[in-house]
Each structure stands twice: as structure tokens, then as C-alpha cells.
Symmetry: C2
Subunit: 325 residues, 2 copies
């Protein structure tokens, strides 16, 4: 069994490519929008991406699941409670999918979002016991994913209660030695205290994860989950992301490269209402085009740009050098 993690530092996002050597099939999970790295990996290994699946409808980035389905012949899968707008085979709690010696078992693990699933993976070429859990947001390194993204405080408390029960009944019944590969990793705004490692194990989290220590006292667990002071602010673009991911995002195909503009072209577009995003560092921004917003290039560029730029705006970028594009 091939396991490859793709780490996108800018979003604190990890996605996964799991391959079965016996059949040459692969499954991709929690797909980033630029799907070329998965296609490159499949080509390199001589494998076909046969399945694509999301653990939940993300708030924090646009899924590439439809993009992938547009590029290769892939069956999309979705948890039974997901109601997605794109064509996907519905998977119930406990249902299995087999790819050669690799068996994926769907676990309905609500809490972070109501439709959330995790995927428990067994490599039958090694044995009949599970080897790893693709946990999405159900269990993170040193944390769990926040349950407060949908609705107000009352709804968040309900989701936290659901999460408490789910962790006790679904996650912590797994053996200690099972590896845990989450979708939200350090840098994601979906948790307040995510550790910097990119994977963990059930047993290590059972012992060391401070959130799990309160599991047997539901009220304390819920209170901890709702302690929003430990959680980062929610960027305004997130609710749009979730709807877009549920509907099925529009296909990009390949992205055209934005053209370099002459000063008069730049000015015309500015007068037509485009937002100027100056991507230089703060020091350089001290002399800037009037009206420009400053979002310095760095690992959180996408999050900050999404926070300050209104949806559907035309954008003019100011860069230090062409390579920064």
C-alpha cells in the first residue's frame, strides 16, 4: 500500500493519495484545488486515480474534487449525510470500499461538521487489522477541529456534544497503534492549538491530547470547545467556501497566467473598480499606490487575501518581481 501526504503549508491543509499496488488504483482524499500534484504522482507510479472523497464540506478552501473528476475518470464518493450537488456515490457509516488489498471503511464522525466522515484503512497484504485513520477534522495532532463554524453558540454546543460522543464511540475505540492522518494541520484556522507534526497515532493522542482529557465530563468538553478565545477568527469568505464545496465548485481547467500590465492598462482597470493587492512586504508598502491593500507574500497569503478582498472582485497584483507570481 502506497501512502502519500500532500502538505499545503499556506492553508494548514493535508490531503492524501492512497494506492493499491495489486490493482494500480488510487484514492485521493480532501483534495486541494490544484490537482496536478496528484496526477503527477499517479503518472509517476503508473497508477490510476479511481476514487475521490471528501471527509467533509470544507469551510476553509475550495475542494478540487470536481476538478479531478473533470481531468480523469474518477468515482466521487461522499458520506451519506453530505447531500453534495455533484455526482457522488453515497457511503453509509460502516460501509467498505475495496481496492486490491486496501480496504477503506467509512466512519460517520460528526462534530466539526454534521456530515463529517473519517476513513479507516486496512492493508490486507499485512493483516486484517486497521493501519491508519484518515481523520479529516475528527482528530487532529494535539487538538480536534472546531465545532463552531455552522450556526450560533447554541448550535455549536450541540455540535460539541455530538463530537464528544463520536470521539468516545468511534475514534477512541480504535487501537493505540493506528496512525492518524488529519486534513487540518498546523497553520489551519480549524483548530486553536494544532501541533506542528503532520501525523500522530491514536494512542499518543489518547494520552497527550488535552482536549480528549475532558471527554468523560461532557459539559467540560463542550465548554472547552466553545472557548472561542483560543480559536482564531473566522475569515468572512468561509461560509461561501462551504456552499461552493457542497454545490460542487466550477471547473477551472488550466489557469491562465495573469498578464503583466502597462501603467495605463493598470490605471484603466483600477478606475473600472479592480482592487489593488500589494503583495510586497510591509516595509516596501510604506510607499504604495493610493487605495491599495497590503497582503505580504507568505504562508498565510491566501487566508489574508480572502479576508480583505471582497468576493468576486477583479484584482490587480503588485509584486516585487515576476517570480513572486
Amino acid at each position: 500500500m502506497i501512502v502519500k501526504q500532500f502538505h499545503l503549508e499556506s492553508l494548514g491543509h493535508a490531503s492524501y493519495f492512497i494506492g493499491a499496488e495489486e490493482t494500480g488504483e488510487a484514492l485521493v482524499l480532501d483534495i486541494r484545488r490544484d490537482v496536478s500534484p496528484y496526477l503527477d504522482e499517479a503518472r509517476r507510479l503508473g497508477m490510476n486515480i479511481a476514487y475521490a472523497i471528501e471527509t467533509h464540506q470544507h469551510n476553509d478552501y475550495v475542494t478540487g474534487i470536481c476538478e479531478l473528476a473533470n481531468r480523469v475518470s474518477v468515482q466521487c464518493l461522499a458520506g451519506k449525510h453530505a447531500n453534495v450537488g455533484y455526482d457522488a456515490r453515497s457511503m453509509s457509516d460502516g460501509e467498505r470500499l475495496t481496492m486490491g488489498e486496501v480496504v477503506f471503511q467509512i466512519l460517520h464522525t460528526p462534530g466539526h461538521t454534521p456530515e463529517h466522515i473519517s476513513v479507516l484503512v486496512t492493508d490486507r497484504s499485512r493483516g486484517e487489522e486497521p493501519v491508519l485513520l484518515l481523520s479529516g477534522g475528527a482528530l487532529l495532532v494535539g487538538d480536534v477541529a472546531r465545532p463552531d463554524l455552522l450556526g450560533g453558540t447554541e448550535e455549536a454546543a450541540k455540535h460539541a456534544e455530538t463530537m464528544c460522543k463520536m470521539l468516545q464511540e468511534k475514534i477512541l475505540t480504535l487501537p493505540d497503534y493506528v496512525e492518524v492522518y488529519p486534513t487540518h494541520v498546523s497553520g489551519s484556522l480549524c483548530g486553536g492549538n494544532i501541533g506542528s507534526r503532520l501525523s500522530t497515532t491514536i494512542g499518543y493522542e489518547r494520552r497527550m491530547n488535552p482536549v480528549l482529557a475532558d471527554l468523560d465530563q461532557k459539559d467540560r468538553f463542550v465548554k472547552q470547545c466553545l472557548d472561542l478565545e483560543h480559536l482564531p477568527g473566522v475569515p468572512p469568505y468561509w461560509p461561501r467556501m462551504r456552499k461552493m464545496n457542497t454545490d460542487g465548485p466550477p471547473i477551472l481547467g488550466s489557469l491562465p497566467e495573469p498578464p503583466a500590465l502597462q501603467p495605463d492598462q493598470f490605471e484603466r482597470q483600477q478606475q473600472a473598480g479592480a482592487i489593488i493587492v500589494d503583495c510586497r512586504q510591509a516595509e516596501a508598502f510604506s510607499t504604495h499606490i493610493p487605495g491599495a491593500l497590503n497582503v505580504g507574500l507568505g504562508s498565510s497569503f491566501a487566508t489574508w487575501a480572502g479576508t480583505v478582498v471582497p468576493a468576486d472582485s477583479s484584482v490587480l497584483l503588485v509584486l516585487d518581481k515576476p517570480d513572486d507570481l
Copy 2:
């Protein structure tokens, strides 16, 4: 704690970069000869590589530990039984090294080689229990590293006995949830049945590793370790590698790019005794320069080239296109 695995598919080799955010220090383990990826990673993270260590004196590739020490100010470490020719701080069984919240504990784990150590890592920012084992060849994914590389059958049997005891007393006393990051991974000739995943856990191997099933019957374990039919042939260059790694390999600095040769220059060098290695695929080799050896480019190029080309030869490469260099 930052944990990054560097995977070199051509040699079935994994090396590790472990960083402590608290102090900005990093340790690199089982170092590939081209050290630029570690330096790039350190630069990207704003960290200093403070320590470099080898789990054992490798047979299968040249270590980059001296190369690294030549490029940055790094303290080399070595297991107490290693007797290396380069300047290194000797680390005893059980000894600890601290880097911010990260604690490395040296375990003498002989068997694959007599001086072999593993490194048990604790992240005190999470808790006082170990999080992962840098196992070198002491425990692999689905296998253990072969004990037959030094000496004849009798010596190999002795090493296998040592390994049996070491696994029982040092490795399998660790908790199930501890992650295991080996140096020899799929594609390495240091094991006969290494699985394709690039990491595992103590508990998963305890249950699924067929070699460990025989641990309580020493004679069966030794017999299984000496069943050389399941092991790949040992390339003739390996004994040289081990000596070179023990002495401390000569420094490369930066490698010059081999020049493209005109036919008359090529012929002159051939007449002076250079070996022609034709790197094209077998089909293209059907028309080749008389006397050329064919080693097609691919993931095992280095191993095959090292097997057929005599040591210290001058080499003339035949390539399809400049990019193949």
C-alpha cells in the same frame, strides 16, 4: 516539533530532519550525500542544523555527515561502539540529548551492524512519553534489516542472535503508539520483504511483522534471518562503502557538472581506459558503442551502476538528452 522525512527512492533510503521550534535547532539523521535538501529545509524554516548522526555505518550508500559538517557548523554524534574516523561526540546507550522541548535518547540496537543505534524521540511540549523511534535498520516496515552483511554465516548467525535479544529487550518494550521511522525503506537491499509504506508503529509491527512472530524461538528467528534466498544479492561495492563511511568520506564540496564531449574527446578518454556507461533504455542500447555497459536510467540506477562499474574508474556517460544528466 518538526519532523520531516527525506525519501530517496533510488536507494530505498529515508533520512530525517527533526527540529525544535523553541531553540531553532535541528538534528539530521542518516544523511544522504547530497546535503542540499537539508540545508534548504533549514533555511526555509529559519533553523540551524546543530547535530548530525548516523544510526550505523552504512553499506549501501556514502553518508553525507562529513559533507554537512563541512558546509555548516554542526556537531556530529556517533554511537559509542562506532569508532568513526571523523570528529564525533560519542553517545552511550541510554544517553540523552536535548534540543528545546525535544529529547533524543540513544538506544544501542545491534544486529544489522554491531555499532547500530536507534534514537527514541520525546516531544516534551506534548508530554513526557516518547513519540517516535528513528529506528535505522533495527525495525523496518514489515521486516528487520539483514544481519548477514559483515562476515560469513557464523558471524551472521551471531548477529541474528544479538538482533533477537535486542528486539525483545529494546524495541518491543516500547509502547504500541510509538511511530517508527526507519532508514531502510522499500527498494533498499538491506531487507528482503520491506513493505511500501514509509513509516509504521511499534504496535502495528508487533502484530503484523512476520519476522517478529518468531522472536520467542531464537533458533527459528536466526534461521529466518539467514534464509538468504529471500534476500537480494549484495552488490560488490558495499564493503567499500562501509569502510568509507567509518573513516569519514572525502568532502565533495559542490559537484562540477560533467562536460558534454565531442566524439574525438570521447574516443581519447575511452582509449585512456574510461568505462562507457550507456544510460539509455535496453531498446536503444541494441545499437551501442562497442564495449559500453548498459545501465538504464531508473530508480535502481545507482545500485546497478555501482555493481557493474569497477571502483575508481573514469566513466563516460551516454544519454538520450542533456536533461537525463
